[in-house]
Symmetry: C2
Subunit: 496 residues, 2 copies
């Protein structure tokens, strides 16, 4: 059927959709979510049908096209395109089988992931797949196939050196910037560390946000290999490279429902490690209140799965279980966290001791794990690389390679408006709720205002005297500060 | 945050969506699929956020509104609305619980169905619910709650008479127009029969399409009670009344994946019966090749569930298992089927015998079931109501009440272009594939061209002589006829 193009003048951003008038849809026997093959002078594409009942949406004899389809057919308003019924992609059959509790073959899983990357599935179809894998679960074979498919359908970093080290922490702990200390220690020891990190979603800063204070983090793939060759490592925002792109779309489905399918999570994490060619992986599983994994049993269960999956994918995995109930470091927010990191790398006396010890410990594990140090000597080597300034030097080179200026913690100034919470009696800080601190930091403006955030003068368990400072909130204006203070004072920091 | 309205100039048709520029979304800490509360001079609504990355979609400081939201806020292009972050509806928590395999309370199910009706859920959320009930299943309590919620969130027909009879066949058999014979027989016997039917989705005609040949089938709710009072029954298109509206949205999710969750199906059917206040229900379960239910075991399993559900909902349910592998009647397509129905009601010699016997049998069951006849005498009473012209008279009154003209089968002429398939040898018709006949009928133009379709001169098992007519295809133009013939000749009607 020939239909005249109506330019809808907006982009759908994702799946290709066309709008048909109800009458034409009936003539073509098409229903919403069916597919049509469009053809204009030999340029072809497949799109999903939406049906408009009113003449206002689209007139009979016309077809509403959005930006993506207009571009793909290189057509414009008023031109004529040929429209025919198209069949559903084969991956729908595979999704259906998963819904019915069947196990999928590697080929089936690949067809689904390929179609997700190519924007060929509707939200309904994609959601069905995600929910089916959540409620039906996946066996190890399926998780391996999913991991491989996720990695193979995106960009891949080809590194010929050894060892290629990666580290990962499941679920965020605010201020947990040990990654930015561990990476330069490992690089200083001769490891290759292609670290992709995420931006904050619900926290005041992600590793990528904090690193961005020091250097650009959106770096195209072709430059990354050169940085690896020149420096041995980087810390970038994973969102700017096209690693395992289907994964982001799957997470977008899970996010509104706050579900976290175990198989998906395992595959999602391991696919990104496979894309960067990791040979050794340190997996941190924080447990406790507010962490994703509630207890040791859950952590051990996950550790087993990661090891199993790593074994098949030729990635050596070591797991550490950490306390996820407390912030690590004293600064919360991009600038304050970056300052903590630099103080730590410079061995400044203001370096937060928990950040130092955590970083040295985990770097030590990785140094032993990769054979860069003898068994039992990793921690000492890590400490040495820190003390000699080797790690600081590596960080400076990484920052320079990514296009940043020479780092200087004294130039990292928090925002101007401040509020300081002081102790009303002598005692000991009982707990500092990570969730509360995260909320206060975000309300103060982080991560969008990188210099906003919270600085903890006292940490959990520390003794405190009446009138002493417990924490300071930083914000760019009085309005944001007021919001943050309000949230802070609602649930006080308890002193016992 | 105050944002300036951009009129997107189209309707989304369903869920309320607003489009924000990426920058404003970041400032408000909003992600796609989050919700915002909009307020303009006290008029409020909640909408789902979509985020546009380009300035073309929507400029920073602006908000793209679609028709539904513009109307609801009574605002227009260039005006300013207030935008605030809104929380997710409570039903999301219930959906989440179902995903995790929990059983839902009646209150939880009602909150979900209410939000579906009110367009408060995104496709992702709605799909998650549908898929979760499919993969996790529902227990009887949940199905009962779902049935009640589906019925209560739509219009309800309040009939004070007794008995109110309904009949239902699971999954379509082409030409299966016995409903249009059974309804007038029952009405003639003094039963109340508020029959809502569907239009064709994949068949050449639904009951509503066939009835529409004789009378209007889109009748507003307020007129239906009057028709019941005056005549005792009607046969209308269910899509024109707002009975169990959430059900249609659930079916729209299931359709693209061709899934049919048993619990959903049970609730969907029974909710519509509850909405019309049925006291007695005859449920036909066709089995065999091409039917939804493959065998007797499956049919019995369903029958048990319908009875159980009916018991709780105070609807008496009787089940009959039928042969679903063969067309019933000789005409396929709205006009041809309507002619079969009228011939049957007039006891014309051209009436298809299978349609007559099926109708009389099922009407007989219902007459006994409702106490309108003594046990064992139902079929005879049905036959008598047919023979005396009582059923014909009732049908004429129903047609008149719905606004149709006096019916006359001789005026029901099939389309002009014809092709007749003749036997190439003596023998017996082996099978007439319902799927093939349905396809040929649709390609010939049915149901959009009501006079298009197929007429079966011979039915399955009938002897046939060389040169005798087997079937005739009717179409409005040569083009459509050619398509139909091509499909027909690809898979021949076998003679043995």
């Amino acid at each position: 059927m020939k239909l005249t193009v109506k330019d809808m003048d907006i982009a759908t951003g994702d799946v290709k959709v066309v709008l048909l008038n109800e009458k034409d849809a009936r003539l073509l026997d098409l229903h919403p979510m069916d597919r049509v093959a469009l053809n204009r002078n030999g340029r072809k594409t497949i799109a999903i049908v939406d049906v408009g009942e009113s003449r206002k949406a689209v007139l009979p004899g016309h077809i509403g096209l959005f930006e993506e389809v207009l571009d793909e057919l290189s057509t414009k308003h008023g031109e004529v395109v040929n429209v025919e019924v198209a069949s559903k992609p084969e991956s729908i059959g595979a999704i259906k089988r998963k819904l019915d509790g069947k196990h999928l073959t590697p080929k089936e899983i690949e067809s689904i992931i390929r179609d997700i990357v190519d924007n060929k599935l509707t939200d309904i179809e994609l959601t069905s797949f995600v929910i089916a894998t959540y409620t039906r679960g996946m066996n190890t074979k399926e998780i391996v196939s999913l991991t491989r498919s996720l990695a193979q359908t995106g960009d891949v970093l080809r590194i010929k050196k050894y060892p290629v080290v990666d580290l990962h922490s499941i679920g965020g702990v605010p201020g947990n910037r040990s990654t930015m200390v561990i990476v330069p220690i490992l690089v200083a020891a001769g490891c290759i560390v292609p670290k992709t990190s995420s931006r904050a979603i619900t926290s005041p800063s992600g590793t990528a946000d904090t690193m961005e204070v020091l250097a650009p983090v959106q770096i195209p793939l072709r430059k990354l290999n050169k940085i690896i060759d020149d420096v041995g490592g980087f810390i970038i925002w994973g969102g700017a490279v096209n690693l395992a792109p289907a994964d982001d779309k799957i997470i977008n489905i899970e996010h509104p429902l706050s579900i976290d399918a175990e198989g998906q999570m395992l595959a999602s994490i391991m696919a990104k490690k496979a894309s960067v060619g990791a040979t050794h992986l340190l997996m941190e599983i924080p447990i406790g209140r507010g962490a994703k994994v509630p207890d040791k049993r859950g952590a051990k269960h996950l550790a087993k799965h990661f090891a199993e999956l790593g074994n098949i994918l030729h990635i050596k995995v070591k797991t550490v279980i950490a306390d996820g109930s407390q912030p690590v470091g004293r600064g919360i927010g991009p600038v304050l966290e970056a300052r903590d990191v630099l103080w730590t790398l410079k061995e400044d006396k203001r370096a937060p001791q928990d950040l130092v010890s955590k970083s040295v410990e985990q770097a030590g594990i990785l140094l032993e794990f990769t054979g860069k140090s003898k068994p039992g000597k990793g921690k000492a080597l890590a400490q040495q690389l820190l003390s000699t300034g080797a790690a600081w030097g590596a960080m400076c080179k990484i920052i320079e390679a990514q296009g940043g200026k020479p780092p200087n913690p004294e130039k990292l100034l928090p925002a101007r408006e401040t509020f300081t919470l002081k102790a009303k009696k002598n005692g000991k800080i009982k707990t500092i709720e990570t969730a509360l601190i995260a909320k206060v930091g975000r309300l103060a403006g982080a991560p969008l205002d990188p210099d906003a955030g919270v600085y903890l003068h006292k940490t959990c368990g520390e003794p405190v005297h009446k009138g002493e400072r417990i924490l300071t909130v930083y914000a760019r204006n009085k309005n944001k500060l007021a919001f943050a203070i309000k949230a802070l004072l609602k649930e006080r920091v308890e002193i016992i």
